[in-house]
Symmetry: C2
Subunit: 346 residues, 2 copies
């Protein structure tokens, strides 16, 4: 019996948090590959918060995944068939190969990986889109200056941990926010943050703010924004004049289609946000890293040696088996993971 | 009987729109001037929307005017006494001399004007803070590119008219928003905008948006924000990817202390604003021109010749007598003026 592929399709659009019925594991024959195409056996696939947006039928920077379509996402694996001179069987590659045991792609859509330089999983995390997102957002949009104070939430995630570590290398006071005492310990002990505040320990934005103030006595110059919600509410009044807010996510609001209502959300009215930006001369910049791939070589040149030298750490959280992806994704949205969430496909 | 000064003090803090009881005209002796100080007889004083913010007791970029204190503001006039070698009696100057017939200032706080180069009133408008605000916000933060589309509200005001005219010189499609058919005619006929939409003709943000779409078939690349409210609500969904929003005011919300609630405001939730910035990769920059006076010579070098050549037009609206200032200011906030609002003090 020939090898078959297993892949997870979007069975229905979630309302709020995704549940098991929104996904379906399907089995099908391996795809034929055309001229210039490559077939990959995935080893690891990536789970990232942005995927929640793809499940909604709302105008965004990318089209939604169609109902019945395979969930999109990055993966790393091994070439098992190639109709392109650029790739040979046995090559390791990164590509947007989906929540799937196999994927085909055009040669130009794949990037070759050298497993002797770094484990292939790093192409999904610290050396991949999340790490690149943190590095680009901080250095290009955050414009860090030594002595300033930076706050980043989801501090132990692959974006937040990169942001904090690069900021430390720039000489900033770095304060993380994370969910739980164990993650906070990871932020300071593994990633070298100056402090980390457990947002779960504070019911209200006001109390969270009071805790932040202890570690940010001179206010906040850079708020690297990836969560929205209560954290944004806590941080806003602490922003210093000429502060910068690189904005690459709002995970707290994703399950509500980006328009959720909770206690914090009600406090964050449009006029309040606008007034804060105005009277503090803030610079708020939305971005998605896929618009900036031209800077990827700069990122590798800057960060690669720091990782090799042990000055930038990374942690991976690996779920076993493609069938574990929906539950692992749900856990990711509620902060159940530690470090970069991967799924080991084989 | 020696000459006395008349000045308008803040009698009480307004709730909502200011009324007559919030102001009081007082008469007092002319101030003594100390070493290095200069006494000025004001000819014209400026009325600007930002002054509404100074009447509130809220944290902002400047301290509020104290109760009983003279209202702050720019003025131009003639030196009538000087204890500084930098100024002689008869010199014309600009300074933050307040809502007053006279004002004293330190020499370094005044700027000498040459009435042979331009009428001294222009130092309060087209060549002063409003014109400079429009020029700086557009060129530095808006980053205009030929062929793009710009929208600016309060299009016939001294900021908006500068923004639109400089954008036209950069080759943009320029669409104004103004209150009333006569102002819209002024935007196109006097200032050369490609089109202008009368926001008073549309009850809802949705209808205003539909009208804007006729003139912005390729969406909006730069929204120069000075009003907030219904206009912001109309514009937000029309922003193109990589759009820029220089933010220097939110006049529609000023009378509510910047935190007002109206139909538009309720639609502009924090998450909606945040999501729009994120998914369209927008750059939103709050600014106040007083932080950028180092660029003032560049502004004069760029814009001065355009005014001299008749390529940048300006309109002044002059109220007579200092006692007319409160009513003229109220009218300014509700859009009753045409062009730069001044008060002729003598």
């Amino acid at each position: 019996m020939p090898e078959q592929m297993r892949h997870i399709v979007l069975a229905s659009r979630p309302t709020g948090a995704p549940n098991d019925e929104n996904f379906r594991l399907e089995t099908s024959d391996l795809p034929e590959i055309g001229d210039g195409e490559v077939l990959v056996r995935n080893h690891y696939m990536s789970l990232d918060p942005y995927m929640r947006g793809r499940m909604d039928d709302a105008k965004s920077y990318a089209a939604p995944v169609p109902i019945g379509g395979t969930m999109e996402g990055g993966a790393v694996g091994e070439v098992i068939a190639s109709n392109s001179p650029a790739f040979a069987t046995g090559d390791f590659v990164f590509g947007m190969l989906g929540w799937s045991t196999h994927g085909k792609a055009k040669a130009h859509e794949l990037r070759k990986l050298d497993p002797n330089i770094a484990p292939i999983t790093t192409a999904l995390g610290v050396l991949g889109m999340p790490g690149f997102t943190g590095w680009y957002g901080l250095t290009e949009l955050g414009k860090p200056k030594a002595g300033e104070t930076l706050v980043v939430a989801a501090a132990t995630g692959p974006v937040g941990s990169m942001v904090g570590q690069v900021a430390k290398l720039h000489g900033l006071n770095v304060v993380g926010i994370a969910g739980g005492a164990d993650k906070c310990a990871m932020a300071t002990d593994v990633y070298g943050f100056d402090a980390c505040v457990d947002h779960r320990a504070f019911e209200s934005a006001r109390d969270l703010r009071a805790a932040l103030k202890e570690h940010c006595p001179k206010g906040i110059d850079i708020y690297f924004e990836n969560v929205g919600g209560k954290v944004l509410d806590a941080v806003l009044p602490m922003m210093n004049p000429f502060g910068r807010i690189p904005l690459c996510g709002m995970i707290a609001w994703y399950n509500a289609g980006g328009l959720g209502a909770d206690a914090a959300t009600e406090a964050i009215t449009g006029p309040r946000l606008w007034r804060t930006i105005l009277v503090n001369f803030l610079s708020v910049n939305g971005f998605i890293i896929s618009n900036h791939f031209d800077r990827y070589p700069d990122f590798l040149r800057d960060v690669g040696p720091q990782i090799a030298a042990g000055k930038i750490a990374f942690v991976e959280d690996i779920a076993e088996g493609i069938e574990s992806a929906p539950a692992a994704f749900r856990a990711l949205l509620s902060g159940g993971n530690k470090g970069k969430q991967l799924v080991k496909v084989i």
